[in-house]
């Protein structure tokens, strides 16, 4: 099932008891970020928050933590909110394999209601605020940023929808961080080689399928819109921009049309990042905004990012794990069971696999490091047997405790690529990586005493079912 827009998803969250309306008066700083950070501490099943009484504003509304829990992630996919994480993973993998789903084009969208082309002031249009104390300003960090390949502009799949951190740097100016690994950096490079500005559209307050697709590591020529359709199981609805050929999510609350300025870099940051550290103090490109549209009384959806876990980790947990799982399955279709790459966007990944023979699990670990996502992540890959649930950390710790022999099973590979934001990389972007093989040794690798694994008493499954009934 599909949510037609952001508001319909909020309504669903409210019906399911997963939206907390906060009518208390809050200050823009530090209250909204503080409340959101505090919410993340309350467990893995927390609600979204909607603030509607913000000091100094007359009718502003700010939505936070919208996908910041496993129930909200399940509802994103239209599943019951209590769906176990491992089931969400396999359902997501199933829908991911249905890519591409063709899009549905529309002429008009709700965000056309209000249009501004003169005297644009982003500070008046959006209730902007600071997230973390060291941040250099007010950021936009959950918006879809859309751009096209200038050398192949008709290629729908090469149009990119991504989520990038953007610092509001003036009434109609944004700074953006397109690190070289990001698709938009390819588009910017093309534009700068030509000496032309790059048209961009920024869509804020979207239903969650496109946010999920935009945050999924897809291949360069794969369309996020066609992936959003696959995730929601219905064609994704888009509408054309007015100043360019870019396509915009139909259900957006606020849309900014503008251009990335060729040849311009300006001081940006710092900004508290998903690594739990600040990054910044570098010179980054600038977007000039030429046109704004929004729904009447728009809701500003924002993302608190900080020391993990926060909403970011729920947002990019399953959709990072699934592509890695699919790419490993392409190499080893009969062995790979599941992948958990939820830790700091997959800097640590856990792979559950069957093995063909001794040494196989280490090959799986190396393959994970050489997938497209693994090139920038997978600093540590833990490989476990097929009967260990990689989403169940006590089980993973048991495997490490009993199956891993440091002399044989800890493999360090020197000086591989990693994302430059990894604070441990030295120089930035280079790090050793490690495989921990926590699988049971298999012939011809015969070592240890693993011939008598514990079984369970008979009828445990029957009793588990009965106990659940009794405890209801």
């Amino acid at each position: 099932m599909a949510y037609k827009d952001f508001r319909e998803f909020l309504t669903k969250l409210e019906q399911e008891g997963q939206l907390l309306n906060i009518h208390d008066e809050v200050k823009p700083e530090p209250d909204i970020a503080a409340a959101t950070n505090a919410m993340s501490k309350l467990g893995q099943e927390t609600p979204a928050m909607l603030f509607d009484n913000i000091y100094g504003y007359t009718n502003a509304r700010v939505a936070m933590n919208v996908m910041g829990s496993w129930p909200n992630h399940a509802l994103m996919m239209g599943m019951p909110k209590n769906t176990p994480l491992k089931d969400q993973f396999f359902e997501f993998a199933d829908r991911y394999s249905k890519f591409p789903m063709p899009v549905q084009r529309e002429e008009k969208a709700p965000f056309h209601e209000v249009e501004i082309t003169e005297d644009i002031n982003l500070f008046d249009i959006l209730p902007l605020f600071r997230l973390n104390q060291g941040d250099g300003g007010f950021y936009i960090d959950k918006a879809c940023v859309i751009s096209r390949d200038l050398d192949d502009p008709e290629h729908f799949g090469k149009q990119n929808v991504g989520i990038y951190r953007m610092q509001v740097k003036g009434k109609d100016r944004l700074g953006i961080q397109p690190v070289p690994q990001h698709d938009i950096a390819i588009h910017l490079r093309q534009a700068e080689e030509r000496g032309e500005n790059l048209p961009v559209v920024i869509a804020l307050g979207n239903e969650p399928a496109i946010t999920t697709a935009a945050a999924t590591p897809l291949l360069y020529d794969q369309s996020e819109y066609e992936m959003a359709g696959a995730i929601q199981g219905e064609p994704y609805r888009i509408v054309k921009a007015k100043d360019s050929s870019l396509d915009i999510p139909w259900g957006a609350e606020v849309v900014l049309e503008g251009e990335l300025l060729a040849g311009v870099r300006e001081f940006e940051g710092p900004f508290g990042e998903f690594t739990g550290h600040y990054s910044g103090g570098r010179s980054m490109p600038i977007i000039k905004i030429n046109r704004v549209y929004h729904r009447a009384n728009p809701i500003f959806e924002h993302l608190y990012i900080g020391m993990p876990w926060t909403e970011t980790d729920y947002m990019i947990g399953v959709n990072t794990s699934v592509p890695l799982y699919q790419q490993l399955k392409e190499a080893y279709p009969n062995e790979i069971v599941a992948v958990n790459a939820m830790y700091t966007h997959g800097l640590v990944a856990i792979v559950s696999t069957k093995r063909r023979y001794g040494g196989f699990a280490k090959a799986v670990g190396m393959r994970a490091m050489t997938t497209p996502h693994g090139l920038g992540y997978c600093k540590l890959v833990i490989v476990v047997d097929e009967d260990v649930d990689p989403f169940n950390l006590p089980q993973v710790m048991w495997a490490l405790s009993t199956k891993m022999h440091p002399k044989h099973d800890a493999v360090i590979i020197p000086d591989l690529s990693v994302l430059p934001l990894d604070p441990g990389s030295s120089p930035a972007g280079i790090s050793h990586k490690m495989i921990l093989d926590a699988t049971t040794p298999l012939a011809p690798e015969t070592r240890g005493h693993y011939s008598q694994p514990l079984d369970s008493p008979l009828d445990v499954d029957k009793w588990e079912k009965r106990l659940r009934e009794l405890m209801q």
């Binding site: 060291g134 001081f267 570098r282």
Partner: protein, 77 residues
């Protein structure tokens, strides 16, 4: 009234006023682009109380690394 950037201590500009009159103002520094709201805690708004680890020397700003790098034709201009 002049407003001093808490981070690099340059002179800053008024960016926005609260829709409710008199509640707050937002300032931005044209040199280091630091942005703040008048009612934030003094550890954000006051130059002498701003976290020293996050201070910026205007002389360092032109030396900041370009991310992504600029193509040669822009650098040689």
């Amino acid at each position: 009234m002049m407003h001093t950037c808490p981070r690099c201590e340059s002179k800053a500009d008024l960016m926005a006023k609260s829709p409710v009159e008199g509640a707050w103002e937002v300032y931005m520094c044209p040199v280091c682009i630091f942005t703040w709201r008048s009612i934030e805690p003094e550890s954000i708004t006051k130059p002498e109380k701003y976290n020293r680890a996050f201070k910026v020397d205007p002389a360092d700003i032109p030396l900041a690394e370009n991310v992504p790098p600029l193509p040669a034709k822009y650098v040689n201009k």
